[in-house]
């Protein structure tokens, strides 16, 4: 018995090692695809000065920036820069790409964190309720709710939330991460993380904390409810399938109370697929974050990325996209590790 256990552990480690190594080609493919795509679609100088400069002046500017050199050489330079951790500087506003990643990345991280809280708080209880009342009224109601939140684009939900809580009721601010004074005060204070909630708590000023949280409510709801819709469907389907498993029937036959069957026996097993799916959710949430950030002018990665894309600032876009690819790949690897630890059946 002990022997089979060690060998299965070795197999698991081997599997995880392969997964880890495979992150490299995955990221490499994306970096390459994006590099060449972005070169095909134009350059920032043409995008910004297109109508205003003569063709010669434009060509001169492009030559000065080095865009007229062979693509492969530019590609090689870029790749070697990336290996040294140098992503270059953005061309439209001359910021270091790494600096953009740190400051705006922190904002996105903060948003995704709030949204996940909403998603868990709403998705898990409702999914459970729907499964327990399979095909009865609560199930239908909750499923309709889930379908609606899936069907409503996050920017439409955001628009409705703004209309209701901001312009009609005046309860919450419509956009931004904090009032200007708060942002200024927090940026002046010593070292800051750019995760405004942490900065505000460090400042010790309660008014700042409240301000930051008030700004977070609507974006967190918009992005969180979208994800909650996914969670509801997942939990419901997995719980329904688990409730039909033999070990649940066995528990029922032993006279375990239905409540306990659901919460102790079935629910924990039904959560495993949800953990697996979390990896996929991160890619989905990052996509949702682009839209949410634009809806609420939340200056995260998605917000700046869409502006860099419109300006054809390919240095910035490449850097940000590479970073997103790395984050997605690492996150999904970590989810796999967690999944292997949580689920004793995952053995290779």
């Amino acid at each position: 018995m002990a022997k089979t256990q060690t060998s299965s552990r070795a197999a698991l480690l081997r599997y995880l090692a392969i997964r880890l190594v495979l992150i490299v080609p995955t990221v490499f493919i994306l970096v390459t695809v994006v590099f060449f795509f972005m070169r095909v679609i134009g350059d920032p100088i043409t995008a910004a000065q297109g109508g205003r400069l003569s063709a010669e002046a434009l060509a001169q500017r492009r030559a000065d920036a080095g865009f007229d050199r062979p693509l492969l050489i530019q590609y090689w330079e870029y790749l070697s820069g990336v290996f040294r951790g140098d992503f270059g500087s953005t061309m439209t506003d001359h910021r270091e790409v790494t600096e953009v990643l740190l400051t705006n990345g922190a904002a996105t991280l903060e948003l995704v964190f709030y949204a996940l809280i909403v998603a868990f708080a709403v998705g898990i209880p409702l999914g459970r309720l729907a499964a327990r009342h399979h095909d009865r009224l609560p199930d239908v109601g909750i499923r309709t709710f889930a379908v609606l939140f899936y069907a409503a684009p996050v920017f439409f939900v955001g628009l409705l939330l703004k209309l209701l809580f901001s312009s009609a009721l005046h309860w919450l601010p419509a956009a931004g991460r904090a009032e200007t004074e708060t942002t200024l005060a927090l940026s002046k204070q010593g070292p800051n993380t750019n995760i405004l909630l942490i900065d505000a708590i460090v400042s010790g000023n309660g008014a700042y904390v409240v301000d930051v949280l008030r700004h977070a409510v609507l974006p967190a709801l918009a992005l969180g409810l979208l994800t909650a819709g996914v969670f509801i469907r997942l939990i419901r389907i997995n719980l329904l399938e688990t409730l039909r498993a033999d070990f649940v029937t066995a528990a029922r036959a032993r006279g375990v109370a239905e409540r306990k069957v659901v919460s102790k026996h079935a629910f924990r097993n039904a959560l495993i697929p949800v953990v697996t799916v979390m990896g996929m959710q991160i890619a989905l949430m990052l996509g949702g974050a682009i839209l949410t950030e634009n809806t609420f002018e939340w200056r995260g990665i998605g917000f700046v990325l869409s502006h860099y894309l419109l300006a054809r600032d390919f240095v910035a876009v490449q850097g940000l996209v590479t970073a997103i690819a790395v984050v997605v790949a690492i996150a999904s690897f970590l989810i796999d590790v967690i999944n292997a630890l949580v689920d004793p059946r995952v053995r290779y």
């Binding site: 392969i18 997964r19 495979l22 995955t26 493919i29 994306l30 695809v33 795509f37 972005m38 095909v40 134009g42 399979h134 095909d135 379908v147 899936y150 069907a151 409503a152 684009p153 920017f155 628009l159 409705l160 703004k162 209309l163 312009s167 419509a174 996914v230 469907r233 997942l234 389907i237 997995n238 329904l240 399938e241 039909r244 498993a245 495993i272 697929p273 697996t276 799916v277 990896g279 996929m280 890619a283 989905l284 996509g287 682009i290 634009n294 869409s306 894309l309 419109l310 054809r312 876009v317 690819a325 997605v328 790949a329 999904s332 690897f333 999944n339 689920d343 059946r345 995952v346 053995r347």
Partner: protein, 377 residues
């Protein structure tokens, strides 16, 4: 998106149906049927509005005047403009009606393109195997793992290349959506092909001297194609959302070239501060209704095709009991659950009467699962 399908028992009547959805409707009951009816109704209305836009819309989608009389700007809903007008003085109702046409065109074009590219790729990759298979799997998985909207934006900029007339815009949007979907069709079809490859009829064809192309596109394709309608339905709702997202971020179709709901919502965002609600709420509702319609159909298809969840109303036959029992074992034997928004890999697609899980898992060659794959083994 997150819909776990276990396409274990194909509904046999479905293939013979002439009216789309009718056979599906027969196989449902109770609340399930109500949801399906609502879904089918919504989609029927959507298609009718899209086709008859010229007859239904009171004005043109970019029209701002009749003769010399300009439309009022930001006018609230009234008898002349049932859903009000936008900041540019365009009629909101007309833009919504023509927006349906844009959405339908993009969804259909994207579905056709991704099926025609993704399905053959999947069949060839699964059947031929080897290095080609591994490279294709790696590439599609890299694309699949990436935030789809971002991918769509990059591709749409590339395809549109500055041109954003109606045709160019619709093609650009469709192609960018296609790039998201190809990996999905590829994965599902490749999985089904791997399973089908081990079936006796394929061996028989091979022994009889059929060429590989004939086996792939004659024998295997017709047997793996039954998963495609479900996937296409699920994808249609995502396609509409992606189109709206592209438009919202300003990477979609020019507003003067075609009406597009996402673009209108973007413009409406700045109206919110002034309490102007009709420019944003109505196009938003249009998106929600259409996506809900498609999602309800997809959900019903899913539940009907997933006997594990079929409980009430229908009398369970002995056969079904077998399926449930076998499928439950299958799920347990199958260790790792699948990413929810993809149909489970059809190697589990055993014949309904006597599924044979152990054999299925043997058909999947041992290979490292690339990152982010929820696990299809």
């Amino acid at each position: 998106m997150a819909t776990a399908i276990v396409p274990l028992a194909p509904v046999p009547v479905q293939r013979r149906s002439r009216i789309p959805g009718l056979a599906l409707l027969r196989s449902t009951h109770g609340l399930q049927r109500i949801m399906l009816v609502i879904g089918l109704t919504l989609i029927a209305i959507f298609v009718i509005v899209a086709i008859g836009a010229d007859l239904i819309a009171p004005y043109g989608f970019a029209q701002t005047r009749i003769g010399d009389a300009l439309f009022p700007t930001h006018a609230p809903p009234s008898a002349e403009h049932l859903l009000g007008t936008t900041v540019g003085g365009m009629d909101v109702l007309s833009r919504i009606v023509y927006g349906a046409r844009t959405a339908l065109l993009v969804v259909l074009l994207a579905a056709v393109l991704s099926i025609f590219i993704g399905v053959p790729l999947g069949v060839v990759s699964g059947y031929v195997g080897g290095v080609l298979d591994r490279v294709l799997v790696l590439i599609t998985d890299a694309l699949y793992a990436f935030p789809s909207l971002l991918l769509a934006i990059v591709v749409s900029i590339m395809v549109a290349g500055g041109r954003s007339d109606a045709f160019g815009g619709i093609v650009a949007a469709s192609v960018s959506i296609t790039v998201i979907f190809i990996p999905q069709y590829f994965r599902v079809v490749r999985g089904a092909t791997l399973a089908a490859k081990a079936e006796p009829y394929v061996d028989a064809a091979r022994v009889a001297g059929a060429r590989p192309t004939r086996i792939m596109f004659g024998h295997i394709l017709s047997n793996v194609s039954q998963t495609i309608p479900v996937l296409a339905t699920l994808n249609a709702s995502e396609a509409i959302l992606t189109l709206a997202g592209l438009g919202f971020l300003g990477f979609g179709i020019e507003p003067s070239a075609a009406a597009e709901w996402g673009y209108d919502l973007n413009k409406a965002l700045s109206d919110v501060a002034n309490g102007i609600w009709w420019t944003g709420v109505f196009p938003g509702i249009a998106i929600v209704l259409v996506v809900t319609g498609v999602a309800l159909i997809g959900e019903s298809l899913n539940d009907v095709l997933n006997p594990l969840l079929r409980t009430r109303g229908g009398a369970t036959t002995a056969d079904e009991h077998d399926v449930v029992a076998a499928a439950t074992q299958d799920t347990i034997a199958d260790h790792r659950p699948n990413p929810p928004h993809l149909p489970n890999p059809p190697e589990k697609h055993a014949p309904p009467a006597h599924p044979d899980p152990p054999e299925d898992s043997a058909t999947e060659p041992d290979q490292p699962t690339p990152p982010t794959q929820g696990g299809d083994r």
